[in-house]
Symmetry: none
Subunit: 410 residues, 2 copies
C-alpha cells in the first residue's frame, strides 16, 4: 500500500478569525468533507504536544516522528538543505538575508528593499569567501528567493551555539556573533570575519552601484541567524524502512524532508505562496507514488502566508483552492491501496498572525481507517472524531494504516 | 492577555461516591456550567499520565509543565518552602511531626495529640539545633500547623536519599535514618544526631511538663520524612517568560509554586480547609492579574480534605461553595482578555479516601477557546469535550490560549 501525507501550513484557526468562526469553518470544502465522510476518521493533533508552541521546523520534525527535543539543532541547516545546498555532518549553517547598511554602517533595511534581481551575480561575487584565520574551513553561500539565502561552514571543531548577526532591528550596527561554547566561539569568529569580507565585496559591487543610481537600496551586507549543526538522526529508510519523496515549495519544508532522507521533487508552477499551482503538486505527488515511492509528503504553504498577513479572505480562498485539489484526489487516488492523511502543522490565527499551541484538525482516509461519524473537516467537528487527540507522529501513523511500519519488539 | 489557573484539590470522583454518582455530579454548579456553556471547552486530564497515581507534589509539578520524572526530588523541600522557609540549592529538607514517645522511647502518638498550642515555644527551644559531627552544616527547624513542621540542613555534600524516621506505626522506637549513598549517609547521620538532641531538649521542656499535668500528650520528639534536595528546575520566568503569583493556603501547593518562581499571596481567611474564605482568595487572585501578573495559580484544598475524610456531603458543599465564587468570576473577569482553566489535580474518591489515577475533569474558558457543546462540568460530560484527553501541562496550555508562550523552534 501507499501513503500520502498532506500538510496545509498554519491551517488551524481560532474562533476570532471571522466573526466567531475559523477560516476553515467559513471556507467551502465539499471535496475534503466528502472524503472524510466516505472514507475517513478525524481528530485533533497537537503538533508537538499540548502546551508547546511549535516552530515550523520543530513541528515538521514531530509530524515526521522525530522528537524535536531529541533531534532539533536549529533552523539554518534545514534552510540550507532546502535551497539545494549539500550539507553534511561537518557543516554549521545559517539562514541569511541580504540587507542594506547606511553610510555609518547601520542597518537601514533588513531585506535590501526585497531585492528581486541580480542576486545570482551577488552570489557569484561571494563565491570565494574564506576565513583567513581558519583557512581549513570551507565557506559556501547560496542565495534563494528575494533577499534570502544560506551560509555554511564545513570543517573540524565547529559549533552551532552562535548568536545571530541579524538583530531584527533598524538603525543599529550589525551585532558581532558570539559563541556559547568553545567550538561555537570559533564559529562565531569565522562568521564575523566572513560577513565583514562579504560587506566589503558587496559595498563596491557594480550591481549595488546600479541599484543606488536607480534609487534602490543596495544589498551591501549579509546578516545571519538560525545557526545549526547537522542533526544526528536516522533517515526514513532506516527508521521506517520506506522510500519517500517531498513535494513542496517552501525551503524549510524541503530542507527538513531532505535531511530525513526524502527525495525532493519540484512541481511546475509551485511557488510556496497563495498563487502556487498546487494542482500540479498534487499530480506530481500521485505520480511519485505510482512510480514506486512508499510515501509522499505534500506541503502547501499558502494558508500560513495568509494567516501571517492577517488575511482571512486569502486564507479562506487558499483553503478552497486546496479543496479543489481534493476533488482531483477523490477521483484519481487508488483508494483500495492508498491512505491519505491531511492536517495543519500548527495553528496560525488570523488576528494573532503567529504560531500558537492550539491543536490542529487532522484526518486519515483509506481502506483500513475506522470511519467515524464526522462529516465536516474543521477544528470543532474533528474534536469529536474517531482519532481523538494525539501528539504529532502523523507520518508513522499514516504508514501504520498502510502496513508500512516496522515492528517494535517481537 | 492574562491567565488564571484554578485547581480544586482532589476534585475528581468515582461513581461510588454517592449512589452511583460522583460528588461533582451531585453538586449544584450553575455558575461553573454557565461559564463552560458560554465560553468554554472541556476535557479529561490525566494529572501525570494514564496509569500513574499522582501525589500532590508530583501532580502539581506536572500541571505546571514540569515532568516530575525529570524534576521531582521529594516532598520535604516543597513543605519547607511552603511554610515560608528560604531554601536554596544547598538544602536538604524534611517534613516533620511533633510526636509523643512513651517512657520506653516508643512512639505512642504520631501527632503529639494534634498539639494546637505552644508550638512557637517549642520551635524556639529547637532554634540552636546543631550537628556536633558536622558543625559546618546549618540546621533550621520551623513549625507549621498543629504537629507539622519542616527541618532543613544546609551545607556541602548532603544527599536526599534518606529513609524516614517516622515509621507510620505506633508502639515501636523511631527507626534510625539511613542514607542510600555516601552523601545521604552523612545526611542521615546528621538527622539522627539532631533528632536525638531535639528529643532531649523537648523531653525536659516546661511546656511538655505542663501538657502532662493537664493530661495531654507531650510533644517530646520530632519525626522526619520526605527527604529532598533542592530540585534543579528552571523558574517560570525563564521557562515561560511570565510573571506569576500563587494564591493558596496549603503549604505544599504554596511550596511547589514558590520553588518554580511564583510569588505567594496570602488571602485573608484562607485556611486550606472546607471553612476557608475562598471568595477572598478569588478576589485576591483577580487583583494580582490586575496588578500586572501574567498568570495566577489559585488553589482550593477543601475538596480533597473532605474526600480523605470520606465525607461526600462535605465535598459536595465545598464544590457548591467554589461554584458561588465562579458566580463572582463570571461577573468580574475581563473576559475579552483573560483565559481561565479549572480542573482537579487528581481524583480522590469518597470511599477510597486516597488519590487514584483516574483522569480529572478539566475546562478552559476565554475568547480564544474553541467552544464545545458540553454544558455540564463533571467527570462524564467532560469526556465528550473539545479538549479531548490530555496529560498534565495545564499551565502552559492555558498560557498558550493567552498568547503567553515562547515558541520552540523557528
Amino acid at each position: 500500500m501507499k501513503s500520502l501525507m498532506i500538510i496545509a501550513d498554519g491551517l488551524g484557526g481560532r474562533p476570532g478569525d471571522v466573526d466567531g468562526r475559523t477560516c476553515l469553518q467559513v471556507a467551502e470544502t465539499p471535496e475534503i468533507d466528502d472524503l472524510l465522510s466516505r472514507r475517513g476518521s478525524a481528530g485533533l493533533m497537537d503538533p508537538i504536544k499540548p502546551g508547546i508552541r511549535p516552530g515550523s521546523d520543530t513541528a515538521h520534525l514531530s509530524l515526521f516522528g522525530y522528537d524535536p527535543y531529541e533531534y532539533y539543532t536549529g533552523r539554518g541547516v534545514f534552510e540550507a538543505a532546502g535551497i539545494g545546498m549539500e550539507v553534511t555532518e561537518n557543516d554549521v549553517c545559517f539562514r541569511t538575508n541580504f540587507a542594506t547598511l547606511d553610510s555609518d554602517g547601520k542597518i537601514s533595511d533588513r531585506r535590501a528593499g526585497r531585492i528581486s534581481e541580480g542576486q545570482d551575480e551577488l552570489e557569484k561575487a561571494l563565491s570565494d569567501l574564506k576565513s583567513k584565520k581558519y583557512p581549513e574551513v570551507e565557506v559556501r553561500f547560496k542565495r534563494s528567493t528575494e533577499h534570502r539565502g544560506a551560509l555554511c561552514f564545513a570543517g573540524p571543531d565547529l559549533g552551532g551555539n552562535v548568536t545571530p548577526t541579524d538583530p531584527h532591528e533598524l538603525g543599529i550596527r550589525m551585532p558581532k556573533a558570539k559563541g556559547r561554547d568553545e567550538k561555537s566561539e570559533r564559529t562565531a569568529d569565522i562568521l564575523n570575519e566572513v560577513t565583514d569580507e562579504a560587506s566589503e565585496i558587496l559595498q563596491n559591487h557594480p550591481l549595488n552601484m546600479e541599484r543606488k543610481e536607480m534609487g534602490k537600496l543596495p544589498a551591501n551586507a549579509i546578516m545571519a541567524r538560525g545557526a545549526a549543526t547537522y542533526p544526528d538522526l536516522p533517515l526514513v529508510k532506516e527508521r521506517y524502512g520506506i522510500s519517500a519523496s517531498v513535494v513542496a515549495a517552501g525551503a524549510l519544508y524541503i530542507g527538513v524532508a531532505r535531511i530525513i532522507g526524502m527525495e525532493f521533487k519540484q512541481a511546475e508552477g509551485a511557488t510556496g505562496t497563495v498563487d502556487s499551482n498546487i494542482l500540479n503538486k498534487v499530480k506530481l505527488a500521485l505520480k511519485q507514488l505510482e512510480k514506486g515511492q512508499d510515501l509522499v509528503f505534500l506541503h502547501f504553504k499558502g494558508t500560513d502566508n495568509a494567516s501571517h498577513d492577517h488575511d482571512a479572505e486569502g486564507k479562506i480562498n487558499f483553503i478552497e483552492k486546496i479543496d479543489r485539489t481534493f476533488g482531483w484526489l477523490n477521483d484519481n487516488v487508488d483508494w483500495d491501496r492508498t491512505h491519505l492523511s491531511f492536517a495543519g502543522d500548527h495553528t496560525t490565527p488570523i488576528k494573532y498572525g503567529g504560531h500558537v499551541a492550539d491543536p490542529v484538525p487532522a484526518m486519515l482516509a483509506g481502506p483500513n481507517v475506522r470511519k467515524d461519524r464526522v462529516e465536516v473537516f474543521d477544528e470543532f467537528s474533528c474534536a469529536n472524531g474517531g482519532l481523538g487527540r494525539f501528539s504529532g507522529n502523523l507520518l508513522p501513523i499514516t504508514l501504520g494504516y498502510s502496513n508500512q511500519l516496522k515492528k517494535f519488539g517481537a
